[in-house]
């Protein structure tokens, strides 16, 4: 380094290997003081690893880190903190039963003679909160505040520790559109005050909106750094994927036919509070259409799907008609074998048996069928052939093919395996809950294509999604769920994202139809 440089952080030639894989291969990242620098890449491109190296969670095999031109070694998050590097993890590290104030001072508590001195801390938090427009109540319990506010608590935590370099790991994944907008403003404000921000994302629109520069990683390798003002979404995605990606889903207009699913007066008791988690929901799905239940996470979608598929019991009085037959009292197995395919919300909890191999997982609902079983013995050769067929068709990648343990597969491929399994089973109704959660654009594109294909082949699709892009792109009909009720029905061609957002946040509802947003 000849001159004093404009970079607050420089990571040069970072190489980090994990057993058998090079997660970061000679990656260089330069963060200017006061900029918002996005780090873009597919799942598994090495973004999180690189940030973990910077935050002291991993030690790189090769490469150096410089702060303000001075070489530093960061062996633990404490070292990182001492250097003024803070990180907001995707899942917040907050003590739920503590107040915001307690969470912020946790670890750096001001004390006098062994007693906490919260007053000064409180004043400082209020001051910081006002300065950056964070608007956090220091006395609220974390468990009582919204996800957005929890995130702002995390930001305050970094500010309280006087961090200058702020790392955000996929900060928008858990937020509503309105909250995302607020976060963008906060980030811009922080940058203006001289904080330097590293922002991990694979959402291009957010990067285009907020970042100054962007470094792209692909498969652990450094692809390049670009100025956001000189680039386009398409260019960024091409850098990230290595090919061009479609952002819109190509599909013909829906041709809805007979009704495959009719739900009447479905209510589910909440496990958390006295109100019903799902309250008197009625809807229908017809063959050849994609009906999307949109809504902010936690508004009863999960409970609704659980009741629909038989994982939970609905309250009495509900009717679930599958092609005209009431299946509300039928078992999960009955529904599975009578035309319901289900891509579950949580692929680890429900979708896969992680300790089973890929092939065992691919016959999870079919192992007892004649094709795969004889006198109670599993026909492993048939299972293998079936698995290989599906793996080929859906391009499920894994280390050892059919015998790979599901746990060792990447999230995208796990999801592809589930998709393959569910779509290949005979079905009249596909229930897909957040089918693309946490996946990168390449995988999303593929999964969307498959969902449209199954629609065109005559299945009804009930999609539950939190991603507005997905809702707008994929669905033929949108239902908004708010606090366990359907509060509106929309045509994606005529409704705006802003309008949907208002319904999702509970600011508006269509009440004209006697409280039920029923189809025409």
């Amino acid at each position: 380094m000849e001159n004093p440089n404009p970079y607050i952080i420089e990571m040069r030639g970072i190489t980090k290997e994990f057993p058998g894989i090079i997660a970061n291969d000679n990656v260089t990242l330069r963060l200017k003081k006061g900029e918002i620098h996005a780090l873009l890449g597919e799942n598994g491109a090495g973004k999180s690893t690189l940030m973990s190296v910077l935050f002291g969670l991993y030690q790189p095999e090769k490469g150096e880190i410089y702060k303000n031109g001075k070489k530093v070694t960061i062996n633990s998050p404490n070292d990182a903190n001492a250097l003024g590097i803070g990180m907001v993890h995707q899942h917040f590290k907050l003590v739920e039963v503590f107040s915001v104030l307690d969470n912020i001072i946790l670890g750096v508590e001001p004390t006098a003679a062994g007693f906490l001195k919260k007053k000064a801390a409180r004043a400082r938090i209020l001051e910081l909160s006002a300065k950056y427009g964070l608007n956090v109540d220091p006395d609220a319990l974390v468990e009582d505040i919204t996800v957005g506010m929890q995130q702002r608590t995390e930001i305050l935590k970094m500010l309280y520790r006087e961090n200058e370099v702020l790392i955000f790991d996929e900060p928008t994944a858990v937020l509503t559109p309105q909250e995302i907008e607020e976060l963008m403003q906060i980030m811009k404000g922080l940058a203006k005050e001289g904080k330097s921000i590293l922002f991990i994302s694979h959402k291009l629109s957010e990067i285009m909106e907020v970042a100054d520069r962007c470094t792209v990683l692909r498969k652990g390798k450094y692809v390049g750094t670009v100025n956001i003002c000189d680039t386009t979404k398409e260019e960024l995605s091409a850098m990230m994927i290595g090919r061009d990606v479609k952002f819109t889903v190509d599909k013909d207009p829906a041709e809805p036919k007979e009704e495959v699913l009719r739900v009447e007066h479905l209510s589910v008791r909440s496990k958390l509070h006295k109100k019903n988690a799902v309250n008197d929901v009625s809807l229908s799905v017809r063959a050849g259409e994609i009906v999307c239940v949109a809504g902010i996470d936690g508004n009863g979608q999960s409970e609704f799907i659980a009741a629909l598929t038989g994982l939970e019991k609905p309250l009495p009085g509900a009717r679930i008609l599958l092609c005209g037959e009431d299946v509300v009292k039928k078992s999960v197995r009955y529904k599975n074998t009578h035309g319901v395919s289900h891509i579950p919300e949580d692929r680890h909890k429900h979708g896969l048996i992680l300790d089973y191999t890929l092939e065992e997982n691919l016959v999870l609902q079919r192992y007892f069928e004649k094709d795969f079983q004889k006198h109670g013995f599993i026909r492993f050769d048939e299972v293998r052939a079936y698995a290989e067929d599906l793996i080929g068709k859906y391009d499920v990648r894994s280390g050892q093919g059919p015998v790979t343990v599901a746990r060792s597969m990447s999230g995208g491929n796990q999801q592809k395996a589930i998709l393959a399994r569910e779509i290949e089973r005979k079905h009249k109704l596909l229930i897909a809950v957040q089918p693309t959660r946490g996946l990168d654009v390449g995988a999303i594109e593929f999964i969307h294509e498959q969902i449209v294909r199954t629609r065109d082949e005559g299945a009804g699709v009930l999609l539950v999604s939190l991603e507005l892009d997905e809702v707008m792109n994929l669905s033929d009909r949108i239902l908004v769920m708010y606090e366990g009720e359907i509060v509106g029905e929309f045509d994606p061609k005529t409704v705006s994202v802003q309008e949907l957002g208002l319904y999702m946040a509970g600011a508006k509802r269509q009440n004209a139809k006697g409280g039920e947003a029923h189809e025409e």
């Binding site: 894989i21 997660a23 300790d355 746990r407």
Partner: protein, 460 residues
């Protein structure tokens, strides 16, 4: 797809296989146990004036040599008794292992064992062989005892499935209920079954007194007049059948699925409640079958006042299962190993200056170390995986894993805390279980090995 085929064809070499890792881990644990056992002996020798230090070395070698340390004339005899006494332990080990595979902790094996013993004894002693052929009585007694164990095991299974009551609690209660029920039944029937003839009032008559005893095929004579009979082969066959059921059938597929991930099993349409009950019922049957085989040997004294203590072989099924990483075939070997060390322990007191309280201690230390096998296996796995993982398994591909992956988590896929209710956790938790070894020794002397230790004493 080229990649898949290419890597699909890769055969993991012998040393990288999970099975191999299990074996290596178990052997390392035993080695560690022996080492610590030696340290204990050496420390005792250093502090006690009457014990020469050389005894510590002789002592640990005695334990290591097992039945081969009992003097040249005794080897076959001790071997025979070791194999015979392994039979019930193999079956209780299988019982615990099967339950673990389904995600359940069957600590109720002692109770199931007692019920099995009672069933077998009642039937074998009350049907006169003068009117019914002995082989039929034997078969009825074996099946009857097993059936009673099936019922007994189904109880915790039922409560778990129906009311979500932790099976450990119900198992412990059913253990003591069984202990008291058995005592009560024999007390109430008094002279029908209790052995008054030999002034051994605490024992039930040997089944041989009614002409019922397991076929020996001359094995008893071959093994120096020991108790050896064909029961160990029955146990081995049961282990093989269980292995096939678990790994080759739809039923086994379901049981394991429920054990690994109950939510996903439910999602897949399996009747996870039925599977829980079935798994516990079969586990109960296995433990009971072990007891039945032990009793039906014909020459064994069953101590009927069981309310005083629970049978050691019931609890020792836990270390037997853990040492074998819940593999039914492995249980055969781990059970024999436990008995092998046990014989060595008895010989330790007989042949060195250490008193008889030290031997169970050493045996306990060794068995205790068995609990570490999972940990060691994981450590080995982590090292092995470094060379073994495909490039496409980026460790943190999945942001959901990344999300959970922070300072405390390691980057390798297996440890990414992806699975919500880690099924791995059950066995890990129970790694703490083997404090039982202590019970084992105390209980053992009280219940079933009475005859053996008495006989062993004569020979020593």
């Amino acid at each position: 797809m080229k990649n898949r085929n290419a890597s699909g064809a890769v055969r993991t070499s012998f040393f990288k296989r999970a099975g191999t890792r299990s074996v290596i881990a178990s052997l390392l644990c035993i080695l560690g146990g022996l080492l610590v056992g030696f340290i204990v002996l050496a420390a005792l020798a250093a502090f006690a004036e009457d014990i020469p230090f050389s005894d510590a070395i002789t002592g640990i070698l005695t334990v290591l040599e097992g039945p081969f340390s009992g003097g040249s004339g005794n080897i076959l005899f001790q071997l025979g008794n070791m194999l015979f006494s392994s039979t019930p332990l193999i079956l209780t080990g299988l019982s615990v292992a099967l339950a673990f595979k389904t995600g359940l902790f069957n600590i109720g094996a002692p109770g199931q064992y007692l019920m099995g013993a009672m069933g077998a004894l009642l039937i074998s002693l009350s049907i006169p062989t003068t009117s019914v052929p002995a082989w039929l009585v034997w078969t009825l007694a074996f099946l009857g005892g097993t059936a009673l164990g099936v019922l007994w095991g189904a109880i915790p299974g039922f409560f778990k499935a129906r009311f979500n009551v932790n099976e450990v609690i119900v198992c412990i209660m059913t253990n003591w209920i069984a202990a008291n029920v058995v005592s009560w039944v024999f007390k109430a029937t008094d002279k029908l079954f209790i052995n008054y003839a030999e002034t051994k009032m605490n024992f039930i008559r040997k089944t041989a007194t009614n002409g019922v005893s397991t076929w020996t095929l001359g094995l008893d004579k071959l093994f120096g007049g020991s108790y050896m009979d064909v029961s160990i082969f029955i146990a081995i066959i049961i282990a093989i059948v269980l292995y096939i059921v678990l790994n080759k059938t739809t039923f086994g597929y379901e049981l394991k699925a429920c054990g690994f991930n109950r939510s996903a099993s439910k999602y897949a349409g399996m009747n996870e409640k039925r599977n829980i009950i079935l798994s516990m019922a079969i586990a109960g049957g296995l433990a009971a079958a072990g007891a039945a085989l032990w009793c039906l040997n014909g020459a064994q004294d069953f101590k009927w006042d069981t309310y005083l203590s629970l049978p050691a072989d019931g609890f020792n099924g836990i270390p037997a299962a853990l040492l074998a990483s819940n593999n039914p075939l492995g249980v055969i070997f781990s059970a024999i190993f436990l008995k092998y060390i046990g014989v060595g322990g008895s010989n330790l007191a007989a042949q060195t200056s250490f008193n008889e309280y030290v031997s169970p201690l050493i045996v306990a230390v060794i068995i205790y170390f068995a609990g570490f096998s999972k940990l060691i296996k994981e450590l080995l796995g982590r090292r092995k995986r470094e060379k073994n993982i495909d490039v496409r398994f980026a460790p943190a591909h999945d942001p959901e894993q990344v999300r959970r992956e922070t300072a405390e988590d390691r980057p390798d896929g297996e440890n990414a805390p992806g699975a919500p209710p880690e099924p791995d956790e059950t066995p890990t938790d129970t790694d703490e279980a083997p404090p039982e070894p202590d019970d084992r020794q105390s209980g053992q002397d009280e219940t079933q090995t009475e005859s053996r230790s008495a006989k062993g004493g004569e020979n020593a």
